[in-house]
Amino acid sequence: MDTDTITAISTPLGEGAIAIVRLSGPDAISIADHLFEGKKLEKQTSHTMHYGKIIDPETEEAAEEVMVSLMRGPKTFTREDIVEINCHGGLVSVNRVLEIVLSQGARLAEPGEFTKRAFLNGRIDLSQAEAVMDLIRAKTDRAMNVALKQMDGRLSKLIQSLRQQLLETLAHVEVNIDYPEYDDVEEMSHQMMEEKTKEVLQEVQKLLQTSQQGKILREGLATAIIGRPNVGKSSLMNALVHENKAIVTEVPGTTRDVIEEYVNVRGVPLRLVDTAGIRETEDIVERIGVEKSRQVLTEADLILLVLNYGDELTAEDEKLFEAVEDLDVVVIVNKTDLPEKLDMERVRELARDHSLITTSLIKEEGIDELEQAIADVFFEGELDAGDMTYVSNVRHIQLLKQAKRSLEEALNGMEMGMPIDVVQIDVTRTWEILGEIVGDTVHESLIDQLFSQFCLGK
């Protein structure tokens, strides 16, 4: 029978509800052990639950706190080993966990596949066969619908247009192969192929980025305001909150139990994380040490570093700059209403590529510029929230990742000097993968393209 391990979110997705990522198959337990920080599941008895964290093995970052239930076959729904990861972070965290599981070698289950396995492994009675078929049908159709609905029109159009570009390139290559005697069809060169491939790769990468941004949009951009005491951190916070009507939400049930403030700045939701903690810290660099503070900081998506215009630059300030070196930072020089004591030239030097904003919070000056700078960091100056295509469906993300991989392989092949018809194997594959996203994998269309694009024949 099937020997691979499948996974999917197996609870209806709803706000606040506990969501379960289920794995079933021979590697369910070993995959789970790979990404679970807690007791070694391999060693636990069947039908037990364990508390721990999901770690992303690629970044070694802790992703979620979870409860994991372990059930060994054959006394399970599918008669295979099953691991269920219970996440309570809602949609975002469950998707994150699913992605990590997928990256560790599990395959995304087809709709109804758990039931199918249960059935094929004899778990479900034969007399229930019809019901099973109905279920599979219903689930497949619904999954298709959901996937199609989740895909907004823009995404679908974009993918179609990428496919069309690839198709034209492929048809061109094919025509060179199948009709070598036609001298009036230009020979597709490596250079042309490379250009096209790169173009499409860029688009795919952009889409994948939006999947990250899509995540941020739902979750909020984790933002930390840092700076020496008295530079105006609370004032900044208040200014942002005041301007933008903060939504204070409590996140119960998590161990953190912190109060996070959400503010929406020009369409960018900020989640002001642990600001309370940071605000109360006398000197974060000294207290938790540079190493540790760096760790705190890496958990933030955005850092607002505040300096005092009316005060001299100190060693602490310099250390702060050092600590945030590789992060997304907006540097804010506050209190410009005071006489200049700060060495602005040095500050500019330290700020390097980061945007540098001057404010006088007390006079309510510079806040507009600050908000623009924050939005720019998120949209990288290129995009506008209303204009963005988001990829949020896990299946789509998986497929886009595959598409990216096969485009990279195509480019790699070209670099290695592989002939165009060999490189083309990976380009064709990309075209097929993108087709899976929009639900269209008919091979005939290449041949249609061939004959509509070129004039051939005896």
Partner: protein
């Protein structure tokens, strides 16, 4: 009233490219075979272009040869020039094309047929089949002879209710004014076989003496020995060139002005023509912006002055054909020997066939060639050999042979036909194959000789040679993997000469060969084999090593495909009893009756959810069986 004219294992109707391969394969497998055809002077006649091979098609000829077929051997003896195409591209798409000497090809084929053991040739027009209880028993000719056999193969090409059309002239006819086959086509319909109407066309032939070649470009053949067949040892080096010229705005103007006279546009022609062989009027209409179209002038043989005007296929009236020629450089004074024409004909809807090419509804009856909706000599020959192999298998009670899509273009062709059907005359293209890196010109023997030998179509002698070749390839590949080359002066010099960057450390010889700029020849100078290897062995070592990454990837995909192919669908499956399959899918499944889940998944209209349900249903059947026992 008919008379009993004899009993055979297999009867082949038709001696075109399909019929010839079918009859020879059947006879070679030891089946007592009869071939019936309209005109014994025209066996393996080429009614259109005088050429064999080309991309995909040329590989098919190699595959036929590896299975023990004939096409490659005959063209090797009768071509006027041969060229390797796509040499600037990868090995996957290289292909041979030969210009054929048409009359000589016929002669050579006739000679082969006449000397084949177990094969009887007879001229005659078959009018009906003898069918009892859904099973074919034999055939009846118009001269009232009744021949009996266990299997019958129909390979009647474009003859079925053929209709020739030139301008407003139309008459019932087979290709090239041969008699059309009317009653057999009607009879098949009576037997419940579904037919469609297709159309194709051919350009005019002109007299070589009236062509001014000085206004054209010469197109010579390769001046190295080349051959399709793995058994060919004598090569024709004295080659005849083809010539290239172009249409121009004047030609297009004449066509534009006279479109009303074209039966294509007046609605007289109703059959569907192939997109890849459009007539010149089609090309001018559909690609109006193109200032010119290529025309190749191809001699029809060494001992004839007829020249085929490739690129001017047309069904416009004869006087317009003449006017068109007058505008083309080199052809201004060309005299038409035969006018171009279109032909409409009946063909069998191929989804009615099993992948063995046997009709699902009439046991023992096979169809092959253009009658199955394909076009082209090679496509016909490919189906011919497979139908011959399988008709003989049925008659002599051995297992049928079905090639899959990863084994051969032949497999792709037949799977496409019987699974998807076709709504225009089907031509093989390299892009139809998903594993074309595996389906190469150079490895056809490695893919299929074993099979050819197993079914008795390859001689012991040839098989031994083949085994030796395989052994040498494997040994040499292993040897190169074991040899470490240090970056010494000699190595660096060769690498640099080839345009590569110098080595930083020692490498395996096989890894060095993987570099794009390196060839086997270069590796050979660095580390020669114990004894000089044959060229084809060197070629294999180079290709298999260079593309090993891609080949491994393809093999993985094939593995996945095979898993689905291995899930067989029981022949007696009742699709109506399967709950949950969509209506369209159900209808398609009932029509195609796929043999495996893999085949089912390729039917258009059958969706992944239907496949899923089908899988569950089949597995459940197995479970039910086990639990009943």
């Amino acid at each position: 009233m008919t008379y009993d004219a004899g009993r055979y294992d297999v009867i082949v109707i038709g001696a075109g490219h399909a019929g010839c391969e079918a009859a020879l394969a059947s006879a070679k497998r030891g089946a007592k075979t009869l071939m019936l055809t309209l005109n014994l002077d025209l066996v393996a006649f080429m009614p259109c272009n005088p050429s064999i091979g080309g991309p995909a098609k040329g590989v098919v000829v190699r595959e036929i040869d590896a299975l023990g077929g004939i096409m490659g051997k005959i063209i090797d003896k009768t071509h006027i020039q041969m060229r390797m195409l796509n040499t600037g591209k990868g090995p996957a798409v290289r292909a041979l094309r030969a210009q054929a000497d048409k009359p000589l090809y016929i002669q050579e084929m006739k000679d082969t047929l006449e000397n084949q053991e177990n094969l009887t040739l007879r001229q005659g027009m078959v009018e009906r089949l003898i069918v009892e209880d859904g099973e074919v028993k034999g055939v009846e000719t118009e001269t009232k002879a009744a021949y009996y056999a266990k299997s019958v193969i129909v390979t009647t090409g474009t003859f079925m209710r053929g209709k020739v059309i030139i301008g407003d002239l139309e008459y019932e006819s087979g290709p090239n004014n041969q008699r059309p086959t009317i009653s057999l086509s009607e009879h098949l319909e009576e037997l419940g076989v579904e037919m469609v109407r297709f159309k194709t066309g051919t350009p005019m032939r002109v007299n070589s003496h009236t062509v001014d070649y000085s206004k054209t470009e010469i197109q010579p053949g390769d001046d190295v020995p080349r051959a399709f067949s793995y058994e060919t040892t004598e090569f024709i080096m004295d080659q005849i060139p083809c010539w290239l010229t172009y249409t121009n705005e004047y030609t297009h103007k004449i066509i534009d002005e006279n479109l009303g006279l074209s039966p294509m546009y007046s609605g007289m022609i109703k059959g569907t023509g192939p997109r890849y062989c459009p007539s010149i009027e089609d090309k001018v209409v559909r690609f109006h912006d193109k200032p010119r179209h290529q025309i190749f002038l191809e001699p029809e043989g060494r001992n004839t002055e007829e020249v085929y005007v490739q690129g001017l296929s047309t069904s416009l009236p004869e006087f317009i054909q003449k006017k068109m020629l007058e505008t083309v450089p080199g052809l201004e004074k060309a005299e038409i020997m035969r006018a171009g024409y279109a032909i409409e004909y009946d063909s069998v809807v191929p989804t009615q066939l099993w992948p063995t090419l046997e009709l699902k509804n009439i046991k023992g009856l096979f169809t092959a060639g253009q009658i199955n909706g394909t076009s082209g000599y090679e496509e016909a020959a490919a189906q011919g050999i497979m139908s011959g192999i399988n008709a003989a298998a049925l008659a002599t009670d051995v297992d049928p042979l079905i090639l899959d899509r990863s084994q051969a273009y032949i497999g792709v062709l037949i799977d496409d036909l019987v699974t998807k059907g076709t709504n225009e005359p089907y031509r093989l293209l390299t892009s139809r194959a998903e594993f074309r890196l595996m389906l190469r010109h150079d490895n056809a023997d490695l893919r299929l000789t074993e099979i050819g030998y197993r079914i008795g179509m390859i001689s012991d002698e040839r098989y031994e040679k083949f085994q030796e070749k395989k052994r040498l390839i494997d040994e040499e590949k292993k040897r190169l993997e074991g040899i470490i080359l240090k970056p010494d002066e000699q190595v660096q010099k060769i690498v640099e000469q080839a345009g590569g960057t110098p080595l930083k450390e020692a490498v395996r010889a096989s890894d060095l060969l993987k570099r794009p700029e390196m060839t086997y020849e270069m590796i050979e100078t660095l580390t020669p084999a114990d004894k000089e290897l044959p060229e084809d062995v060197k070629e294999q070592v180079e290709i298999q090593t260079k593309y090993s990454g891609y080949i491994a990837k393809a093999l993985q995909q094939i593995e996945r495909m095979k898993k689905m192919e291995d899930k067989k669908i029981p022949e007696n499956i009742d699709y109506d009893a399967i709950h949950g399959i969509a209506t369209e899918a159900r209808d398609k499944l009932k029509e195609v009756r796929p043999l495996s889940v893999g085949q089912a998944s390729r039917i258009s209209g059958v969706n992944p959810s239907d496949v899923s349900i089908l899988l569950v249903y089949i597995e459940q059947g197995k479970i039910a069986k086990v639990s009943n026992e």
